[in-house]
Amino acid sequence: MKRLQFQKFIFYAVLLLMTTVYIGPFIYQFFISISQSKDVFGDPVKLLQPPNWTFQNYANVWVDLPFKQWLFNSLFITLVQTIMNVFFSALAGFVFARLTFPGRKFLFGLLISSLTVPVIILLVPKFIFMNNLRLVNTYAGLILPNLITITNIFLMKQFFETIPKDLEEAALIDGCSYFRIFWQIFLPVSTPALAAVAIYTFQGSWNEFLWPVTLAITSDKFTLPVGVGFLKNQFQSDWPLLMAGTLLITLPTLCIFLVFQRYFVQGVAASGGKE
């Protein structure tokens, strides 16, 4: 009995330690963000004293920086990408899961194999391409390349394959066209998968850095990560401001994650379970 309790104690001690390692930095970040003094380093205890707290840094982020513009850009780009991505990856996933046509296997294999191609290899050609279309530093340029994600197609295909074939055939007999089957039967039935893909895409788009940092040149086209990333150079000594800004970027994904945790986990599980 004693041994068991000791084991339990060790177990919870390890768990607690791990938890601290994983969320401790965010708590540190929060306390820096509400610090009155710009001199945040040194003895960490002084960050914990209430008289030193202020929320002014958050107000400063909002007022002094083009934060509103960046927030709008981030939201706009992310939402468009998420909605379109869900739609198009579902559409393509439906085709690969349900329709037979010559070259299907080959095409799908091609898509999957392209997943190992490093993103950086696409950067230069994509940029030249966008430049030729005069889309550098535009919303269209920022949005277009990420309207569809191959992983999402894969996820949707996986999910659609679990939907009984009967359902599709019943709909065919009921008089549905393929688009209607997709739109009125498969989509409504696939809410969990769509949610997973949507959340997934939202998170990816929201946090995307390489493409916007390359393509967005002027501040009015920056997304939040890019904007705040540059703030780092500009306000190197103003850690409370920086931390307030970074914490604000984290909030949307954090909220979405906490609310839809279940779908999130499903999405990762589905992409990781089989290959």
Partner: protein
Amino acid sequence: MPQPSTRQRDMITIAWLFLGFPLLLIGLFVFFPIGYSLFISFFDWNLVTNQRTFIGLANYTRLFSDSLFWKSTGNTILYTIGVVPIQTFLALFLAFVMNQKIRGRSFFRAAFYIPAITSSVVTSTLFIALFSKQGLINQLFGLENDWLTNPNTAMLTIMANNIWTTSGYFMVSFLAGLQSIPNSLYEAARIDGASTWQQFWKITVPMVRPVTYFVLVLGLIGCFQVFDQIFIMSAGGPVNSTTTLSYYVYVNGFKYFKLGYAAAAAIVLAVLIFSANQVQNRYFKPEVD
């Protein structure tokens, strides 16, 4: 070969119709760039002046005589070798812990997962604060190291950042794998007298091999491409000790505007990833039952 019937033809038409726009996008932004990258790599192509000259393989020969290229390749490999095993093991360990009967499991799971959903800009900025000379880490451990400006520790710090953010993500992959292991297996092992630790090594580890493989593949691809953290935390420095291939490509392309040269380096990176994957396939791929 019989002629496809009307219905088959319909289906083919519909399939292509549905796939049209997605494939167009993928073609434009994935497949075309891959080919175009190769094309560009044979040119001396300056973005600012938009002049291009065909120079054959000169970009590649220059690349191979550039000591910084070799250094970044070395850094990339070092980084991958340092990060992948630790992050994989940590993820598996976390998943194993999460799979036990514990109170507040979803809280802990969320806690481990939060770094994974956080923007790399945020985690990187956070790490700069944590690992600065007067930052929390030095305060806690009584050190005086300036982690990110010290060439010996800058890479370690970035590696720590990556491990910290991705282990939670892969934990979820493992968790799914773990939950598909029938409980009776553990029960049988307990009756046979296996301790928790033995259960972990003798049942969990072999049973999640397919997931492990998947995590290793993804981890490897991810590590070979590391960029954001480098860009924000160290910009390749100090003394190029954190310049990885991805960053090298970016700098050559968008700081020095040598597009052809950058494309050539990117191609080399792709080949490197491809070969590493082949090695993985060859030696680590679990047999499918």
